[in-house]
């Protein structure tokens, strides 16, 4: 009765119009028993952060295929902090070169999943690392 259900935001920032990956991940999250809020395409970091706060999610996941990950991830993290929600974990995936990953993690991104990662692996990581808030 009083069991927290994990709530995750799946967001598609930026201009690329490909959300197949985001939808597959959203579906995998649903099948794992999580509640997923999906924003749809072409969201600004401001829209994503306001959505995360209004929906009280336990983590924000971003799917980025446009190459703008080095801008978009840090911007979302910065805005979350500015709105007093800096503790909300941010992770994501997409076409992201290995070389960029250390920089993104240094900026506060919890994990990056690159193409070819199985949905099982993503779910396992979420179960291990994302907790519903107290």
């Amino acid at each position: 009765m009083t069991e927290r259900k994990l709530r995750l935001l799946v967001a598609k920032p930026g201009l690329d119009g490909h959300d197949r990956g985001a939808k597959i991940v959203a579906r995998a999250f649903r099948d794992a028993g999580f509640e997923v809020i999906y924003t749809g395409l072409r969201q600004t970091p401001e829209q994503i952060v306001n959505t995360a706060i209004q929906e009280d999610v336990d983590a924000v996941s971003l799917s980025i295929l446009s190459g703008a990950h080095n801008t978009l991830f840090p911007r979302v993290i910065e805005l979350l902090r500015a709105k007093g929600a800096g503790e909300m974990p941010v992770f994501g995936g997409g076409i992201i070169p290995e070389d960029d990953i250390p920089g993104l993690k240094a900026a506060g991104v919890k994990e990056i999943f690159t193409p070819g990662t199985s949905t099982e692996a993503i779910n396992a990581w979420v179960k291990e690392n994302i907790r519903p808030r107290a």
Partner: protein, 316 residues
């Protein structure tokens, strides 16, 4: 400061958190709701219901825009189905509305049904309470896609819109009971499709068979193409006409009384059940009773009477 105080100060984050506590059934939400309740009763609550794919979310998006342009602050509760197998859900109503995400005068909250039938989640009324206490002028509640019998919205919303699409044809006859009885307004959306006029005629014909009481409200049937913003201005006009009708006719008072009665009964039922259930679960008594019923050593009627006489004061 309590969540309730922060909510009354207009803090979005606090409201979002309390809504989560409500949805997750966390007991600490109850004292917060007690503090908020005296501040409610001001918001105008609009329900949007109809079958899946009728365009409820797109229509809701246009209603947000229309009420924003009138200077109202608009909150939305958007409900999507929870998977009965995994317990998970994809809440995607925001896709059609998220252009409003950066507008300070709009707050959208998505909910999963979490096993609740009736078109809403169990938490919906309490979440509307939070919005109402916080001072949102208009609260739009969008139900899951409904079939015939999911009519809970009528007890939650002051004005209920039933959204249909052309091409349901004879199906309208089949579903005349249920959702077609609860609409204060009927909307044939996607009215640029063939057969829109026929859908309007079918609905009107069916509605003519109902007879509202003297001075009652005749539900109008309107055409919209939400995606192209067509028919929205007239729709809002009619929604406002219904709102005036409720006030002027005194039906608003009756609505509030009915809603309060149902809410009270629902809470009483839930709390009583939970209390008794918890007590008899302890020490394996519930399991023993159920086994005895299954083996026909005890009948379920006597079993319930026995439990009630022990844990609740005797009937009559």
């Amino acid at each position: 400061m309590s969540l309730a105080e922060r909510i009354l100060n207009g803090e979005i984050r606090a409201a979002a958190r309390l809504m989560r506590d409500i949805d997750d059934g966390i007991p600490s939400a109850v004292p917060e709701l007690k503090r908020l309740y005296p501040h409610t009763g001001r918001a105008f609550i609009i329900g949007v219901t109809g079958p899946p794919g009728a365009g409820k979310s797109t229509l809701t998006d246009k209603l947000i825009e229309a009420y924003r342009s009138r200077g109202s602050r608009v909150a939305v509760v958007a409900i999507d189905p929870t998977s009965p197998f995994s317990g998970g859900a994809i809440l995607g109503d925001r896709i059609r509305m998220n252009r409003h995400a950066t507008d300070e005068g709009v707050f959208i909250r998505s909910l999963g049904t979490r096993g609740h039938l009736g078109g809403l989640s169990r938490s919906t009324n309490d979440i509307v309470t939070v919005f109402d206490a916080m001072g949102w002028d208009v609260v739009i509640v969008e139900t899951v896609g409904v079939g015939q019998d999911e009519v809970d919205i009528v007890r939650t919303a002051h004005t209920s819109l039933v959204v249909m699409v052309p091409g349901l044809g004879d199906d309208i006859q089949a579903i005349k009971a249920g959702i077609l009885e609860i609409g204060d307004l009927f909307v044939v959306n996607k009215a640029d499709r063939p057969d829109a006029d026929r859908a309007v005629r079918d609905l009107e014909m069916m509605l003519e068979m109902n007879h509202p009481e003297e001075g009652g409200w005749w539900p109008p049937v309107l055409k919209t193409v939400a995606q192209k913003n067509e028919g929205i201005a007239e729709l809002v006009e009619r929604i406002e006409a219904h709102r005036d009708h409720l006030r002027v006719s005194g039906r608003l008072t009756r609505f509030e009384e009915n809603k309060s009665a149902l809410r009270f009964e629902e809470l009483l039922r839930d709390r009583l059940f939970r209390q008794v259930h918890e007590r008899i679960s302890e020490g394996g008594r519930l399991a023993r009773t159920i086994r005895a019923i299954a083996r026909r050593e005890l009948d379920p009627y006597s079993a319930v009477e026995e439990v009630l006489s022990e844990h609740v004061h005797r009937e009559g």
